[in-house]
């Protein structure tokens, strides 16, 4: 019985955090908010050099074939550093989807993701939430329609689209009839896009992809929960440092119980949530029957505590926390937008109840 991280996992995390602190500090994140798309290719290639983009890719395709828990630790560190990068879509959701589609890899995509030459956007919003008349249809081999809030999709090389809950398609960026436009959110560290397709010819279509889509969503939810947990860690660290330095009324504000109890409440929520996340990620590979429920609970719960932590950390900072200059808002906004990307807490809890057949009671 060993419920904890291995030496290798701790080393992976340490290596990545060291790299991000050094190469993608908050000043770099700030600079990238002025770009058309924040997903900087140099960061992506550097992550590939560290082996991070190929964790879920088979060794035969240049990856290291590790577990989702390993990839979730990477996602957590990226959230901790608010790093703009298409990791969730390209290094987690796409490889998981392709794993479930036997013989579905015609173009060396996996090799190119592992080596850092290729990125993928992923459009799955409409499988759980249709708004603004969005939706895709395949007719006579051509794709038409609209996909909203597509992940990492304004500058990716390829796009993976869910047509319905049983069909996936891959479309090359810049194909005739495809319009990719960024939807700016409050979070400048994540690329989200609207895709409009007018009789677009796909590179590939996969029928019978029901399980692939479900697994990809479970993995995506666990990884997004990890990203948010990492952002929470960073917000708590900053609040604790600030409360231990800032003086008012001739005292460090962290000595006031009104302030230190806020810090205690944040960490008291975070640590058990970390345990839940580890279990959810572990279940994805080791106990797959449990993974759909654990993915819903982990993301819903972590999204809920994250909203409180984001608000509380900002309040511990007082007025300076509300300024642009202090940078704390990058984490607040990353947490705020992530909350709804792969299903918000209310949707996910409804799904958790369905998975346990609790909705049949009526």
């Amino acid at each position: 019985m060993d419920f904890g991280l291995s030496e290798e996992q701790l080393l992976l995390e340490q290596t990545l955090r060291g790299f991000l602190a050094d190469r993608v500090p908050i000043t770099r994140v700030r600079a990238l908010r002025d770009e058309d798309c924040p997903n900087d290719r140099a960061i992506w290639r550097a992550l590939a050099e560290l082996g991070m983009t190929g964790l879920l890719i088979p060794e035969a395709n240049g990856g290291s074939d590790l577990s989702l828990l390993d990839a979730a630790l990477v996602a957590q560190s990226l959230g901790h550093a608010v790093t703009p990068t298409p990791y969730l879509s390209s290094a987690i959701m796409l490889p998981i989807a392709l794993r479930d589609l036997a013989g579905a890899e015609p173009a060396g995509w996996l090799n190119s993701i592992a080596s850092g030459e290729l990125t993928f956007g992923v459009a799955v919003t409409e499988t759980f939430s249709v708004r603004e008349g969005a939706g895709l249809a395949l007719s006579g081999g051509k794709l038409s329609g609209k996909a909203m809030m597509a992940l990492d999709s304004c500058s990716a090389d390829q796009l993976l689209l869910a047509i319905d809950d049983d069909t996936l398609a891959v479309v090359r960026s810049g194909t005739a009839g495809l319009t990719q436009s960024r939807l700016s959110t409050i979070d400048s560290t994540r690329c989200l896009a609207e895709l409009v397709l007018d009789a677009v010819t796909p590179e590939a279509v996969f029928e019978g992809a029901h399980d692939a889509i479900a697994r990809m969503l479970d993995a995506g939810r666990i990884a997004l929960a990890a990203d948010t947990l990492g952002a929470c860690e960073a917000m708590i660290e900053q609040a604790v440092v600030y409360a231990g330095q800032r003086k008012q009324f001739d005292r460090l504000i962290g000595s006031f119980q009104a302030v230190k109890h806020l810090c205690a409440e944040m960490i008291a929520e975070l640590e058990p949530a970390r345990s839940l996340l580890w279990y959810a990620a572990h279940s994805f590979d080791a106990l797959p029957a449990e993974a759909p429920l654990m993915a819903c609970h982990a993301l819903a719960h972590i999204s809920e505590i994250a909203r409180e932590i984001a608000s509380t950390s900002t309040q511990v900072h007082g007025g300076i926390g509300w300024t642009d200059e202090q940078n704390l808002h990058f984490w607040f906004k990353r947490i705020g937008v992530a909350r709804h990307l792969l299903g918000g807490p209310e949707f996910l809890r409804g799904r958790a109840a369905e998975l346990q057949q609790l909705t049949a009671a009526a």
Binding site: M1, G4, Q257, W278, Y279, G350, A353
Partner: protein, 395 residues
């Protein structure tokens, strides 16, 4: 990450299960006459399922400590619906303290009968003016020849009315500073000068626990009753409190299952509560918290097995678990609606009043064993290294 048990632990589990099938008593220990209780506890000690790691010389089974064996025994006894050993203040708090700080004579005299339930103990710590600030306690033990003479008052003394013995904290060195003047004493409850008065709580007459106030007037106790050295009672009590906090982990997973059962059976306007999206959403929120705490427990267990410090993660369990239990009871009471307040085994009462008892006792546990506010001080000061509150300047 590997959640499987090694083969020898799987074998151990089967052994425990077979023992319980062969020997499990029909009724709870709480209702059994003392002699029957002692027989059952003695049988458990012989097989090594109770007092497993306590030396044979002191009445235990004498095995090497193994945390996973403890976890397996607890799981199997829970599964069988019977108590492992005896959940009481003697075995859970006094025995570990004596093992660490007692004299050879104290260990031989007290540990065995305590483990077998032949001697029941109560704890004399809190006083009316000393709750969270326990070290400010005022009950005095004045030296008089070979004895101490005790005067003062204790409160929140569970089971003082049914116990033969008390372990308590008293001030033996009035001149010493606050923490240095305290000693840890063992006292027979039939000593002249002790008066026990029941303390009625908000739970009324239901529930498993009875609280009391205990008054001491010139109570005489030999100086040999001190555990450890005179004046070191505060340090020794902290060992005991550590054991108390470890014993306050209630089984939220089982309570949540009971809540789910209630939500299936409880109907309003002919519709089961489980069919209400509002109640169901609250249930799912609680389920996520229960799963968090369950796996957090496994993570803490792993840290203990590896002799690693869990850091701040180890300090949040009491705070989170106690609030979670209160919140589970709160949803159950809300689901029962206007019938949720029924009590005292009134007609229409559900689950024999379990949910109100659970709610009130969970609230008690949020306060007892270090209030939520004290827990937050500990988490922020010891766990996050935030500065302590400055002491007020002396007037």
């Amino acid at each position: 990450m590997n959640l499987e048990y090694a083969e020898r632990y799987q074998d151990f589990r089967l052994k425990v299960r077979a023992f319980l099938e062969a020997h499990k008593p029909d009724k709870s220990l709480l209702e059994a006459p003392p002699a029957e209780r002692a027989r059952w506890l003695t049988l458990q000690i012989e097989h090594g399922y109770w007092a497993r790691t306590i030396p044979k010389a002191y009445g235990g089974h004498g095995a090497e400590p193994d945390l996973l064996e403890t976890v397996i025994m607890d799981e199997e006894f829970n599964r069988a619906g019977t108590a492992r050993g005896m959940m009481a203040q003697g075995p859970s708090m006094l025995v570990p303290t004596l093992l660490e700080h007692g004299t050879e004579e104290q260990k031989r005299r007290w540990i065995g009968p305590t483990l077998r339930g032949e001697i029941l103990w109560c704890q004399g710590y809190s006083e009316p003016g000393s709750g969270s600030d326990l070290a400010s306690l005022q009950t005095s033990a004045r030296e008089d020849g070979d004895d101490f003479v005790i005067n003062g008052q204790k409160i929140w003394t569970s089971s003082a009315d049914t116990s033969q013995m008390m372990f308590l904290l008293v001030r033996t060195e009035p001149e010493a500073t606050k923490h240095a003047g305290i000693s840890y004493l063992l006292l027979s409850m039939d000593t002249p000068g002790i008066e026990v008065q029941p303390l009625r709580t908000m739970s009324g007459d239901l529930g498993e626990n009875s609280f009391n106030q205990v008054f001491f007037s010139d109570v005489r106790v030999p100086q040999t009753s001190v555990v450890g050295n005179r004046g070191e009672g505060w340090k020794i009590a902290n060992t005991t409190l550590k054991h108390e906090r470890n014993s306050l982990n209630a089984n939220a997973e089982g309570t949540l299952l009971r809540l789910m059962k209630l939500m299936h059976s409880e109907t309003v306007n002919g519709v089961p509560a489980m069919a209400s999206p509002v109640y169901r959403d609250r249930l799912m929120k609680l389920q996520a918290r229960v799963l968090s705490m369950k796996h957090h427990g496994m993570r803490m267990l792993t840290c203990s097995l590896k002799h690693e410090s869990p850091g701040v993660a180890g300090l949040v369990t009491k705070l989170q678990n106690c609030q979670l239990n209160f919140d589970i009871a709160a949803l159950a009471i809300d689901v029962m609606g206007e019938l949720g307040g029924l009590y005292d085994h009134t007609r229409y009462e559900r689950d024999r009043g379990f949910w109100q008892v659970h709610s009130i006792f969970s609230l008690g546990l949020i306060i007892g064993g270090g209030t939520a506010q004290i827990q937050k001080n500990i988490i922020s000061e010891r766990g996050l290294a935030l500065p302590r509150e400055p002491k007020p300047a002396k007037a």
